[in-house]
């Protein structure tokens, strides 16, 4: 089952200029590529979440650069119509008691749309989405996007 989990890298960042450039240059040096990226802002701080092709390496590089960083299992879904499908997914998961903590979408160079969701119950979510015929991405898909 956990081959369907995607390792997301999250980091705690104060809203200070230069932090993003810092991350970008750390990744460039380590040849880590960002596939999806979002910032959740809240007043004085923000949480940067991203899906990368080499999560272990990215984690190490950021930790060594002094960031507070964690790894979270999330799910990735390829979509045709993002707003519509997000509502459907939230509904089917909600019925089984799996709630979405947050979601963010991104579009690849090949103009395919993907959705990343974090849920409170991964196992139920994976089973439910499988039953509904909604295919999930895995890490090898992320690497080849």
């Amino acid at each position: 089952m956990d081959e369907k989990f995607i390792k997301q890298i999250s980091l705690f960042a104060e809203n200070k200029p230069g932090r993003l450039a810092n991350i970008a240059s750390s990744f460039k040096e380590a040849s880590v590529n960002i596939r999806a990226f979002t910032i959740a802002e809240a007043g004085d701080f923000g949480i940067i979440r991203m899906v990368v092709d080499k999560p272990e390496k990215a984690h190490r590089v950021l930790h060594d650069a002094g960031f507070t960083v964690s790894e979270t299992d999330v799910l990735g879904i390829q979509m045709e119509d993002v707003p519509g499908q997000l509502a459907t997914i939230a509904e089917v998961l909600g019925k089984k008691g799996a709630n979405i903590d947050y979601a963010y979408a991104f579009v690849t160079k090949t103009e395919k749309a993907f959705l990343i969701i974090r849920v409170n119950d991964l196992k139920t979510a994976v089973e439910t989405l499988y039953e509904e015929g909604i295919p999930l991405l895995d890490m090898s898909d992320v690497q080849s996007i």
């Binding site: 705690f12 701080f45 949480i47 507070t68 979270t72 974090r118």
Partner: protein
């Protein structure tokens, strides 16, 4: 001097006759020495003669320990005003050493020592080191500054007095500290608690495990205030026993430590008299009440101090200690009279903030208090470093952690404070005294 091993309870004493002496006998010694002291300072120091005369008190008025309260206080400012040697009671030819502490305000203070003063100092620490099980066969790494500061040389002489091997490395150069600690088998480390925390962080980064890779078992931490929670954190993280050390340069330097009971610091009664007073009124407070520490030196020759206002807040405990020592104890110092912040009329000590944060494993030990005045209103904001293990990537988790810390602080301080979690490594680390407060109020 020999070291005694009492077989009944296997507790070692440096000088069991003195250390276990019944309190009333000890107080008799104090009384005799006090009578001698007031005579001595009155006849040897124009400063004290003038002070006593102004207060209308003569040496012959001081007969009992209670009469001590008739004597005027001595302040740090007196040492500054009489810079450099106006309060000394001996001619320069009797002096064997100077220590000088740089004041952040005004003139520095100079302390002179006779040969006997140096020996009394070493004796005091010798008893203290024995009381935490440090003696012959121990390697004591002295990571306090050497030189004009009393920390390094103080511990150095105390350790030699009990026959320990001293590694006089002084402060800084953490790589070397960790290397020699391993190569020379350091068993005991003396430094500031903030430097030890820094050292522990560096060791962790280098993959050095204090328990497996070093022989370190005892830490002697002082020169800046620290808390019970910090002790637990340091002991849990490194497997050592952490002891508080106390003293100030005006009294000689570091003089006393806790004993293995870790329940207060024994102040050797044959050398010093302790009082706790109300800092506002100057009245002596009953045993057990928190107030300002005042110390009278009984055996110092060059610079004896009468009722010296130390400026630390603490509690006096005269109950016999489980270690068998009868000498009075002072409880952990909770703050400095001059560190106290007054925020919207409420007294706040940085130590209180620290002790709240130490009880919360979700946050790191590094914090900074920012005080400001916005629209005529005092505000207090505390920045705390985010802890790696506690980091959740959900915004609400972080906001609720900030709220949790704020409400824990409010319940202790009776004051609403802002809490802001910040990135690791952004609060400045200091090797000497940690500066925990930035006060931006323009008064």
């Amino acid at each position: 001097m020999t070291k005694w091993l009492l077989c009944d309870n296997m507790i070692e004493y440096w000088n069991p006759q003195i250390e276990r002496m019944p309190l009333d006998e000890l107080e008799q010694i104090q009384e005799e020495r006090l009578r001698h002291l007031v005579d001595y300072v009155y006849t040897h120091s124009p400063f004290y003669k003038k002070r006593f005369d102004e207060a209308g008190v003569k040496p012959e008025d001081i007969k009992t320990l209670e009469d001590l309260q008739k004597l005027p206080f001595t302040y740090k400012q007196d040492l500054r005003d009489n810079y450099p040697k106006g309060m000394f009671c001996v001619p320069d030819t009797q002096l064997v050493r100077y220590h000088v502490s740089s004041g952040t305000t005004g003139k520095p203070t100079v302390v002179g020592y006779t040969k006997s003063d140096i020996h009394e100092w070493a004796k005091s620490l010798g008893r203290a080191l024995t009381s935490i099980g440090v003696g012959r066969g121990d390697v004591l790494q002295v990571s306090y500054g050497y030189g004009l500061f009393t920390g390094g040389l103080g511990l150095h002489y105390g350790a030699e007095e009990v026959g320990s091997t001293v590694l006089p490395i002084s402060v800084g150069n953490t790589d070397k500290q960790l290397e020699l600690m391993q190569d020379l088998g350091t068993t005991t480390l003396a430094c500031t608690p903030s430097y030890f925390l820094y050292m522990a962080e560096e060791a962790k980064d280098k993959g050095i495990d204090f328990q497996k890779d070093t022989g370190l078992k005892t830490g002697i931490f002082g020169a800046e205030p620290w808390t019970e929670e910090m002790r637990k954190r340091m002991e849990d993280a490194t497997g050592i026993k952490a002891y508080d050390v106390f003293g100030t340069s005006e009294l000689s330097g570091p003089l006393f430590t806790e004993c293995t009971c870790q329940d207060g610091i024994h102040i050797w009664g044959d050398q010093f008299i302790v009082e706790i007073i109300d800092p506002e009124t100057g009245d002596t407070l009953p045993e057990g009440e928190r107030g300002e520490l005042v110390i009278t030196t009984l055996t110092k020759e060059a610079l004896p101090l009468i009722r010296y206002r130390i400026g630390d807040y603490t509690i006096l405990n005269k109950q016999p200690c489980e270690c068998g020592r009868t000498h009075p104890r002072i409880m952990r110092v909770t703050g400095r009279v001059d560190d106290m912040l007054i925020i919207r009329g409420i007294n706040v000590f940085p130590g209180q903030v620290e002790s709240v944060l130490m009880k919360m494993p979700e946050v790191g030990e590094h914090f900074m208090i920012h005080v400001d005045r916005i629209n005529e209103m005092d505000t207090m904001k505390i920045q705390i470093e985010m802890n790696d293990e506690a980091f959740s990537d959900k915004v609400n988790d972080i906001i609720s952690l900030e709220k949790k810390v704020a409400s824990a602080l409010k319940s202790v301080l009776n004051l609403s404070v802002g809490v802001e979690l910040v990135e690791q490594g952004t609060i400045p680390r200091s090797i000497g005294k940690s500066k925990k407060v930035i006060d931006n109020r323009k008064l």
